[in-house]
Symmetry: C2
Subunit: 199 residues, 2 copies
């Protein structure tokens, strides 16, 4: 009986954002809990030789249309971030630090960052914009960045990323139900089925 | 009211095979007809800068598992062809030639080629295996290859491929319902919905 699933994500991934909006639904429909794994998608790409679909222009144009169709079906807002790609290393480090400290703060932080990138289309490559978003979400920017830059935090994020690659991850978001891997926000129904059928 | 959809495919694409097995279901559920467009996926990749998911080893391993899950859900057989990638140029040319000649022969040919590659795992890069498969499906191999090598046939296939790229195609299979594009066998439910909602 599987009562939880693993969820690997990076804020810079549009599909991670869409999947994030559906995590409460997955949990509600299955009674399972999500184990959240912030990872560095750039590190995953480097390790596996994969690349963003946006690297192929025709694919990038389609992928956004495809994601918008899902966003509309989910009833959630979505804009293409004009500053894409966002270098998410400091953002993912802060997520890693907050996760170790407080579940509630971690959740509030994730919602704020996804919203800034994929709803408001903010330039989260700009440290002053990042500081504003941190502050608006109720975090002390200087304190949160210091936590993010702690060596133990950096090491933790790197270890999670490497472990993801070892498990077979090559993109984001990636789910695991037991040892079964599911890649993409468009595999959520399979994740739900896998959780239901394991009960 | 949209009563048909366009379907771009290449026999060398596992996802094209899976989608092919579901075309009768799409037509039955929507009352729409499929306009079949044999194209050269290699030409599409070259024109768009895209590549097979199999080019990234971790992705290739997952994609096969993912396709197998769909094959099981569809109730259709599937093997990973050990001779992948198959250079499908002569096979797609023969498809183009037969399509111009006879709907029934075109259908019988498609079923035979998909079966050879994705059910029997044959080495369709080997001309003698190709000749055997052609003969088994009731075609005269020499005659069919001559048709395939006709300049008008080559030009037609090239034109369809270029036109596909102009429409935004970057992979296979690709569906169009009106001007709306859907990429992948995993977007079949969206294609069905689009056809139903346009009636």
């Amino acid at each position: 009986m599987i009562r939880d699933f693993d969820f690997y994500f990076d804020f810079g991934s549009l599909a991670s954002y869409l999947a994030h909006t559906q995590l409460p639904r997955i949990c509600a429909q299955t009674g399972a809990q999500a184990n959240m794994y912030p990872m560095l998608l750039g590190g995953v790409f480097q390790a596996t030789g994969n690349a963003s679909p946006m690297a192929v222009p025709a694919k990038g144009r389609y992928v956004f249309i495809d994601m918008k169709r899902f966003a509309d079906a989910y009833g959630v807002p979505l804009v293409m971030n004009p500053h894409f790609p966002i270098i998410t290393t400091p953002l993912m480090r802060a997520a890693t630090a907050l996760q170790a400290q407080s579940e509630a703060e971690f959740q509030r932080y994730m919602d704020a960052i996804y919203r800034a990138i994929w709803v408001e289309g903010l330039n989260m490559n700009d440290p002053s914009v990042v500081a504003e978003v941190f502050a608006r979400a109720g975090f002390d920017p200087a304190k949160l960045l210091a936590m993010a830059n702690d060596q133990a935090t950096k090491d933790k994020l790197k270890a999670v990323t490497l472990h993801a690659v070892e498990r077979g991850v090559f993109g984001a978001p990636t789910f695991f139900v037991g040892d079964q891997m599911y890649w993409g926000q468009d595999r959520i129904e399979q994740v739900i089925q896998a959780l239901k059928s394991s009960v």
